[in-house]
Amino acid sequence: MKSDTQRVKGEALLEIRGLKIEGNSDGVWHPIVKGVDLTLKRGEVLGLIGESGAGKSTIGLAAMGFARPGCRIVDGTIMFDGIDLRAASEAEKRHLWGARIAYVAQSAAAAFNPAHRLIDQTVETAVRDGIRTRDQAVADSVDLYRRLQLPNPEHIGDRFPHQVSGGQLQRAMTAMAMSCRPDLIIFDEPTTALDVTTQVEVLAAMRNIVEQFHTAAIYITHDLAVVAQMADRIMVLRHGLEVEEAPTREMLKEPKQDYTKTLWAVRSLVKEESISDDVTLSVRNVDASYSGVVKVLDNVTVCLPRGRTVAVVGESGSGKSTLARAITGLLPPSKGEIQFNGKVLPKALKDRDKDTLRRIQMIYQSADTSLNPRQTIRDIIGRPLEFYHGVKGAARDRRVAELLDAIELDESYIDRLPTELSGGQKQRISIARALAAQPDIIICDEVTSALDQIVQEEILTLLMKLQKETNVSYLFITHDIATVRAISDEIVVMHQGKVVQQGPKTQVLNPPHPPYTELLLSSVPQMDPDWLTNLLADRARAKVKA
């Protein structure tokens, strides 16, 4: 159905040569994109991949002749179908945008205007540019909605963005991009914010419609497995420069550059499974709800052995973060009990003594919000030392330096503010803060999901090293199966507040699976360009069977 050469045969639609873009921070211009060439033919899909800061989104927008405020295109040419976009006036570009070049943003929830109905936003460009009358445009949108497999295509357009789920919004945005039948669509990380099971549907719908209308596309992502499903060719970017470019299959089979190879590396990190019966924390038949109405935890039972890692996996809304809140006492359970080191843990935070609090520490998903931006690293790591252990002055500083050493950061970082650190470094500081308390348990709530893959690997490796050294237990909450595979000893699968499956890693990851686990595992994109095609075929077959 899809081959590397089949569709790539039209004339060049987009040609970028020697593109250089600069960004401004604090009044200083520094390069973001340092000379990139790119060619895209009609109907071709090019995947742009790289870590954050690689300049892939900037290039994607530059392909429209657009630079975000604080950025400027300083050199190079951008030719779109014979039009020089760098020389084009604002008015000329405005005429192209939406009509001939369309953009699909990462977060549809933010990119849709909350004040207008979907249909009005979908047809806006087509109607304003006089491509269709409003009635025609509406009818066409309904058709697009249907093609994108949106439920209730006749009426979904009457809804406001907040009334529609994330996956549906992303498809609606694709419909909006498609409404003028553009020659080129820029997809900027369109599925990054979605759950895996939703991602499958959206990817399928997007690929389908691009093929149907023979639209050229630039697909920007950090996820190789995803881009493998979508792109004809892949270009790997790093620090604003091209690392390598090749047709998808070639690229997957034999990446040439070392950097490209490291992108694969995280998948290879696997922890030896080790089972233990020495339970430090056990959650028993716990129910919890916000404001007493909706049950977010429904009869949840989870055990955490000492010195081991239990991964709690599930999609958003599955109750996995609520479980963490119940354990920490932020949300006292309405039913059931939690035992810690053989004793029943007081339900509410304020009833727990200081030593209990010290023994259960937590690391958050976003280090940006979990580290006080007004405190230096010295204060952040030093505070638990002072608070729990009464270590003060030079002794405290020495201990902070040791902890920095333990998390593989130079002690020169001690007087920096969190804003002066990278995402991975911040997450390390969070870990050091938790370690400073010398806890029995660390609850890790999606600690790697905001990080690039290579950084993720470093953090996970660090966590494993620390577990070996201190025998701390991790309750590792995540939605990412790859991470689960890498770090856990046991796995708890949660869905809609219930525990679907619990057991040692090998047992859970290998068939037979309960239906939900099956769905979850099968939805994780694989590094195989035919994975999506096969999966859809499998599911269609299964449906027919049922």
């Binding site: 657009f66 990119a111 909350p114 004040a115 009334q163």
Partner: protein
């Protein structure tokens, strides 16, 4: 119950509570004021006997708590009571009669000003957001800043000097009465309205501009741009509908100011509004009038804020059309 209705009812309930607190606060302050109505009205001519006679007649010789309870009981029955000033003889001046014409004048001026000021500030604010950092934006910014930074009465006197005395376009006095025709009322209230417009347009325009500029960075504004929507249309169609909530709040605040905060302008232009009445009543310790004015002011403030809340709700589909 629809969430809008629920919110409105909830706010109304809170508003009533606030009114009650206001009445207690005002009553307590008045009680603490040195001197009483009799001393105030008799001025230099007060003697202990006349003061005592006065207090007895008005009922001021009874304990404060009794008077407060009685007053609030009457208010709950819709009776604002009688001004102390008329209590001397057989004709009592009811507070409602005293306040009604002045309240009309105050609302007249407020509405007149609002009709000019609100659209003007929206227009100026939208233009400033649209052409931000242009010479237009900077000029409007500097001018409005200066009007904010200048004492109100100073602006009033300057306008009076130039527009009334030099140019003779407006009268210097804004005295109006019930027999004043609508046209003359408009003409006489012209200068106060211009003064107030200058003062409040500055605030509202700056807020409109700020609210819009805040939104310009949001992803859907970038999306609108990338859909080829022209700047002007993007601001009006995409940013403005989302900016109504903060704009409505600041408009409500300024409209409330037009009703409750214009005593200085009333004094300068001799406009018989409710602000002067309240200041007079405070200085003569005329409790029923002060209380009634305070309640009207507080109610205006509460109702306007409530309207702003309602605007925020109905312009926000999240609240108007919950999932």
């Amino acid at each position: 119950m629809h969430p809008v209705l629920k919110t409105v009812l909830q706010r109304l309930g809170l508003g009533l509570l606030t009114l009650f607190v206001v009445s207690v606060l005002i009553f307590a302050s008045l009680e603490m004021l040195p001197g009483g109505f009799a001393e105030a009205i008799l001025g230099q001519g007060a003697t202990p006997e006349t003061v005592a006679a006065f207090n007895k007649q008005i009922g001021l010789d009874r304990p404060a708590a009794v008077r407060y309870v009685e007053w609030i009981w009457n208010i709950l029955h819709g009776d604002f009571g009688y001004s102390y000033a008329g209590m001397g003889g057989s004709i009592k001046r009811s507070v409602s009669d005293l306040i009604a014409p002045r309240l009309y004048n105050t609302f007249f001026l407020a509405i007149m000003t609002a009709i000019v000021a609100v659209p003007l500030s929206l227009f100026l604010g939208i233009m400033a957001a649209l052409y931000r950092n242009s010479w237009y934006d900077r000029t409007v910014n500097a001018v409005t800043l200066t009007t904010i930074a200048t004492p109100e009465f100073f602006i009033a006197y300057l306008l009076m000097f130039f527009l009334a005395i030099k140019a003779k376009w407006f009268p210097t006095l804004s005295t109006v009465s019930e027999s004043t025709t609508l046209l003359e009322h408009l003409w006489r209230a012209g200068l106060p309205a211009i003064t107030l417009t200058l003062v409040i347009v500055a605030h509202m325009m700056r807020m409109t501009r700020a609210a819009l500029i805040n939104l310009l960075a949001s992803p859907y504004m970038e999306m609108a741009q990338l859909k080829g929507v022209p700047r002007r249309e993007a601001i009006v169609k995409h940013a403005l509908p989302n900016a109504w909530a903060p704009i409505a709040t600041v408009i409500a605040f300024n409209l409330a100011y037009l009703v409750v905060g214009v005593v200085v302008v009333e004094v300068v232009f001799v406009y018989p509004g409710i602000g002067q009445l309240m200041v007079d009543a405070v200085s003569s310790r005329d409790m029923p009038v002060v209380q009634a004015c305070a309640l009207i002011f507080a109610a205006t403030y509460i109702l306007l804020n409530l309207s702003a809340d309602v605007v925020s709700i109905i312009t926000n589909p999240r609240l108007l059309h919950p999932k």
